[in-house]
């Protein structure tokens, strides 16, 4: 009986969405008769069809209002940062603006690095991995610089404590430095490295130059990862990072490549593709919405995200992004920088076919939404 019912519910899969069918499956008692179940299903189809958005409904406008109104409340709640210990992540309105504008450089790039089941229970191993992915520059290991202008040499004293802490040896460091530095002879004496200029020129600018250059040399870790923080998330330990480098992190064998995410939408698109970026936008925006205790229906966020990702690359809701794609000159001009658009359109001899909303509002014509959408079809004799 129960199996029959399930089969019957399955057969409606082309008429009702899976989530509705699932609800019916869970909701009806196992002893229900076939006739009753058919009644329920048919009634559900009716309700479902009634709930559907009608053709011509201006969903974009509804979304804009539905996101915009709670957005105004967010500005008042000065709660724009959230963080664990010293790790700060932008949230609140600034974050939402950042995501919808699809900024290339975001204010607090960060990653959540999930780890394999082999090591995600072991705090010590997680901490080790965390410190190994953090980018270490040469400048951090130095305790003293001594510039000898007379002999044209630069002596650098290394801080052996920090070096040991990072699991490095002076030998490795010297080897790395030698590969990067040209025009200088590199000598290492116990805890000091001495740079001597090969060509004995009078210019001491080069010595200053090399000092600054040395500081920036990457000794260890992954590029871009400024800070790491192992935290407990549920049953396992994960690593929060500030600064992102998704590609290199995923290449590590200890990292769980199915869950690790970055909050940089452009990076997600590059590494995982446009569909992942669409989902990432929804997740990022909804995370903020939920953390602020607001109630925005996820459909609105999905619509905006779909629009941003429709062209295969992520476009922001800005005059350079989705607005620049609009076919109508007047619609573009009504958004931002009207003069620029009108002048360019005049130069190019652009034609506005008045097929959308804004341009028709401007010239006082009925707009093609709702009942204004359908036209009359007449048979010509």
């Amino acid at each position: 009986m129960k199996a029959d019912n399930e089969k019957l519910i399955e057969s409606y899969s082309d008429k009702l969405p899976p989530s509705v069918l699932e609800e019916i499956k869970v909701g009806v008692p196992g002893t229900i008769s076939k006739e009753k179940l058919i009644q329920i299903l048919d009634r559900s189809i009716l309700v479902y069809k009634n709930a559907k958005v009608h053709a011509g409904e201006c969903v974009g406008l509804v979304s804009a209002e539905s996101i915009g109104e709670p957005g105004t409340q967010m500005t008042l709640n000065t709660f724009h940062f959230a963080g664990v210990a010293e790790m700060n992540v932008t949230t609140g309105l600034p974050r939402i603006i950042e995501v919808f504008d699809s900024r290339k450089i975001i204010s607090t790039p960060s990653m959540e690095v999930f780890l394999n089941s082999k090591i995600n229970q072991d705090v010590e191993k997680v901490r080790q991995l965390a410190s190994s992915i953090k980018e270490t520059r040469f400048g951090e290991l130095v305790s003293e610089y001594s510039l000898n202008i007379f002999e044209q040499t630069l002596g650098i004293k290394l801080n052996s404590e920090i070096i040991a802490d990072k699991g490095l040896t002076t030998k490795d460091i010297v080897k790395l430095i030698k590969a990067k530095v040209k025009n200088f002879e590199v000598e290492s004496k116990s805890d000091e490295i001495i740079f001597t200029q090969k060509s004995k020129s009078e210019d001491i600018k080069d010595l200053y130059g090399i000092k600054e250059k040395l500081k920036e040399i990457k000794i260890k870790g992954l590029k871009g990862i400024v800070q790491v923080l192992p935290v407990k998330r549920g049953e396992e330990y994960i690593i929060l990072t500030s600064g992102t480098n998704l590609k290199d992190v995923l290449a590590l064998p200890e990292v769980d490549g199915t869950r690790t995410v970055s909050n940089d939408i452009h990076e997600v698109r590059e590494v995982f593709g446009i569909e992942a970026a669409r989902q990432a936008i929804i997740n990022e925006v909804y995370k903020v919405v939920e953390s602020q205790g607001l109630n925005i229906n996820i459909r609105h966020v999905m619509l905006v995200s779909d629009l941003m990702c429709v062209g295969g690359v992520v476009k922001g809701i800005t005059r350079y992004g989705v607005v620049s794609e609009k076919a109508s000159v007047l619609a573009r001009a009504s958004f931002e920088t009207p003069l620029k658009h009108l002048i360019n359109a005049a130069l190019e001899g652009e034609i506005d076919n008045l097929t959308s909303v804004v341009e028709n509002v401007m010239i006082n014509q009925p707009v093609p939404i709702g009942t204004g959408l359908p036209g009359l079809v007449t048979k010509m004799k």
Partner: protein, 75 residues
């Protein structure tokens, strides 16, 4: 390895007959479909060419599962 990420829904290439049927049912031209770049990491292993249509089976929070289509373009 990357394709197994939880953010990436299932991508499949659809056949030419399915493509025609799709364009017919939705009364849309190929160029009217949403786009996906040929170089997109999610379709790297599907051996696609420009002009193909990709079927995407999304996990949706509202509908459970939803189907989306994207046209493969240069890029």
């Amino acid at each position: 390895m990357v394709e197994t990420h939880e953010l990436i829904p299932k991508h499949t290439k659809i056949s030419d007959s399915e493509k025609e049927k799709l364009l017919e049912t939705y009364q849309v031209s190929w160029s009217g479909l949403p786009k996906i770049n040929k170089s997109d990491p999610a379709i790297a292993k599907l051996n696609v060419k420009v002009g193909d249509v990709i079927r995407i089976d999304r996990e949706s929070k509202t509908a459970g599962k939803s189907v989306y289509y994207r046209a493969v373009v240069e890029g």
